[in-house]
């Protein structure tokens, strides 16, 4: 979680130093190099203070400074769900960016900034997209004479061909099951149908078709009930290079499949293909596992400078560089520069960019960022159900029930049909 504080010039900085203490930079956050580049660029013009806090602490921090009525960061990096909480009148931290950010910028984002659109206004700027694609091992596919699936039915059929071969079609026991399967299927679990009304309908055919398709794969042992990050799955399957294919977000390649301390799949074997479609368009959406946003404070003493900083963080050419922006930029022009880098990355067996770009424009918008802790419930209920060996149908139903119980505590009326 990245927190930026901005101010104009040294003299102004001195005058407000009591309200804006210098805060340390703690290393290790992927967005820190981006922020440091901006800090360097604006040296002498705008003073940038960078602070790193745990992502899970974003809402805590804002709630506390709201309570103290001072000490707000000017910009905060987090999730669109955080923004949904921040723009609620009971919180009020998120600023409406309609007037401080130019229309050209919003146009440049295209669909990339749709997570930040609430009731016709933009309350954040999307940093990166994490749409799901099909990652597959070209060497294993060649060895087993498999063809790359283009539909979910083909995905299931291809996965079934792995039975008895010792190869796997990936692990689903974490948020990936929601993102790659339920969300891409447009299962309504956080669908905003009216202001403060959310539809959570696990019996919708677009939910039930998911468990019907995946349960046989789980039963056959060709998809794993563990997480892609599970130490056991990594040791037993991934590190042995036994993952023939997996659905996963665009960052899986660089952050999960490639690193030697993760799956450590050798160079030249991995490729990305378009997210398999549940049906013909428009039933061909992708899901999203992650993707951060910058939210600007409505309390900032320098609203334009704060908005400009958020714009730069999400749109600058620095976004194209690996060391500053390791994930798929949401802003179109920055994304093009990033493409130039990833498309020639020798690690991949073929250019993974086209598949990433194809899915980026098709992220399902049925489920929306909501004020209640949706993602936490994935871990508590959905993931726990899958890891525990129960049926997917039961895990989905329990997950939906927990959301139906939780949503009213954040002021939502729940529709279940």
């Amino acid at each position: 979680m990245l927190v930026l504080k901005v101010g104009f010039g040294e003299w102004l900085e001195r005058s407000r130093s009591r309200r804006n203490p210098v805060t340390p930079v703690l290393g290790g956050h992927p967005r820190v190099p981006q922020a440091e580049a901006y800090q360097k660029l604006m040296a002498g013009k705008v003073d940038i203070k960078i602070e790193v806090i745990a992502q899970a602490d974003a809402q805590t921090k804002i709630t506390l400074v709201n309570r103290a009525k001072k000490g707000w960061p000017d910009i905060i990096f987090g999730t669109a769900a955080d923004t949904a909480q921040f723009l609620d009148p009971s919180n009020g931290f998120a600023a409406d960016l309609t007037t401080t950010v130019s229309k050209d910028i919003f146009t440049g984002f295209g669909e990339g900034n749709s997570d930040c659109l609430f009731d016709g206004k933009y309350y954040c700027l999307k940093n990166d997209l994490a749409n799901t694609v099909l990652w597959y091992n070209t060497k294993i596919f060649k060895e087993l004479k498999l063809t790359v699936p283009t539909t979910m039915e083909e995905f299931a059929a291809t996965a079934m061909k792995l039975k008895g071969t010792g190869y796997s079609a990936g692990a689903i026991g974490d948020q990936n099951y929601y993102a790659s399967f339920l969300q891409s299927s447009e299962c309504p679990l956080a669908q905003i149908t009216a202001p403060n009304t959310v539809r959570i309908a696990p019996e919708d055919p677009k939910c039930t078709r998911v468990s019907k398709l995946v349960q046989p794969l789980l039963d056959a042992g060709v998809v794993d009930k563990r997480s892609s990050f599970d130490a056991g799955f990594i040791a037993d399957v991934a590190k042995k290079n036994k993952v023939a294919m997996t659905l996963g977000p665009s960052w899986f390649g660089d952050f999960v499949i490639k690193p030697a301390d993760s799956w450590g799949v050798p160079a030249g074997e991995i490729a990305a293909a378009n997210m398999p479609a549940w049906g013909p368009a428009p039933d061909d959406r992708s899901g999203a596992y992650g993707g951060g946003v910058f939210t600007v404070s409505s309390h900032s003493a320098f609203p334009q400078a704060a908005a400009d900083a958020a714009v730069w963080m999400t749109t600058s050419d620095v976004m194209a560089k690996l060391e500053t922006t390791p994930t798929f930029p949401a802003y179109g022009p920055a994304n093009k520069l990033w493409e130039a880098r990833i498309s020639v990355d020798p690690y991949y067996a073929s250019n993974p960019y086209p598949a990433m770009a194809a899915g980026a424009n098709k992220i399902s918008q049925v489920d929306r960022p909501v004020r209640f802790p949706f993602v936490a419930q994935i871990g508590t209920v959905l993931q726990a159900g899958i890891n525990g060996g129960g049926t997917l149908e039961a895990a989905q139903t329990d997950f939906a029930k927990s959301l139906q119980n939780l949503a009213p505590s954040s002021g939502y009326t729940v529709e279940t049909k």
Binding site: A231, A235, P373, V375, A384, S409
Partner: protein, 298 residues
């Protein structure tokens, strides 16, 4: 006249000695409770008018009963385990005198240095079948995957183990100290009367340190009721979300920082405080906690 002067003097000295504690009690004990009491009546999205409805909403929340059950199981396991093991180990330690005693006391204290995040990481490493140095034992027990261990039904036991090893060592040393306060002549008389070692331990020493065990029980119960660090860290890092809202304190945290409902959070915190106070009062008055302290009106 002299007597009343002495009384006044004593009152003055006593007040001076009590003043720092009193100031801290007001600042960090009473004021937060008053603030929490006021906050617990604040308006929220669920309760726009504010007031005592916040308390009812906490009790009606769908996460409340599961969290209460989790904490209940945790307490049933944790408090007796602490009392029995600590009392037993202290009595054993008391029998070992000489040069080994200091080394043993130090050895009991070492596990207590692993607290919070460190403790969770160490136990994750020990219990994760694919990483554990004891994976052969775990596999023999049928535990071959992380998911076999890190499951909701197992969490109470895992958290008890974490909390136990963090806290027991300290308390063993404390209770050893209380055993040292037993006058030698009582033990000597017991020996002359023919009492065996176990009889002295169970029938002489244990009753004489009962009040210290009651004191420990109160604190261990209060700490257990407020269990937070272990489930929160497991949820935040090792298995995301696995134990979110597992305990009542976590639920209070969620009310405050995920539900933007500080009123409900304060209401739940005050309910926990009330349970702690009532439990402590019951324990104190149902035992001879304040008797035989050696301080008598002169």
């Amino acid at each position: 006249m002299a007597r009343s002067h002495t009384k006044l003097n004593s009152l003055f000295v006593g007040s001076i000695m009590f003043a720092p504690y009193f100031a801290l009690l007001i600042a960090f004990g009473i004021v937060p409770i008053v603030v929490a009491a006021r906050t617990s009546l604040e308006a929220s999205v669920l309760n726009p008018d504010g007031g005592p409805l916040n308390y009812l909403q906490v009790l009606q929340d769908f996460r409340f009963l599961p969290a209460l059950l989790n904490v209940g199981i945790f307490l049933i396991l944790y408090v007796p385990a602490m009392l029995i093991v600590v009392a037993g180990m202290s009595l054993l330690l008391d029998t070992v005198q000489g040069k080994w005693n200091i080394s043993l006391r130090l050895a009991y204290l070492v596990p207590a240095s692993l607290t919070g995040a460190t403790s969770v990481l160490v136990w994750y490493f020990l219990l994760e079948p694919t990483l554990s140095p004891y994976q052969d034992i775990l596999k023999a027990l049928g535990l071959t995957q992380g998911g076999d261990i890190w499951r909701a039904p197992n969490l109470a036991y895992i958290f008890v183990v974490m909390a136990f090893f963090t806290g027991a060592g300290n308390w063993i040393v404390v209770q050893y100290g209380s055993l040292q306060s037993i006058p030698d002549d009582i033990l000597e008389a017991a020996r002359i009367d023919g009492a065996s070692g176990p009889q002295i331990a169970l029938k002489i020493k244990l009753p004489l340190i009962k009040k210290y065990l009651v004191y420990m029980g109160i604190l261990v119960f209060a700490a257990g009721l407020q269990v937070f660090v272990e489930p929160q860290l497991i949820s935040a890092s090792v298995y995301p979300g696995l134990a979110s809202n597992w305990s009542l304190n976590q639920l209070s945290y969620s009310f405050a920082f995920q539900g933007n409902n500080l009123g409900a959070a304060a209401a739940l915190s005050l309910m926990l405080l009330l349970v702690c106070i009532v439990s402590a009062v019951v324990l104190i008055f149902r035992t001879d906690f304040f008797e035989g302290s050696g301080v008598k009106r002169k």
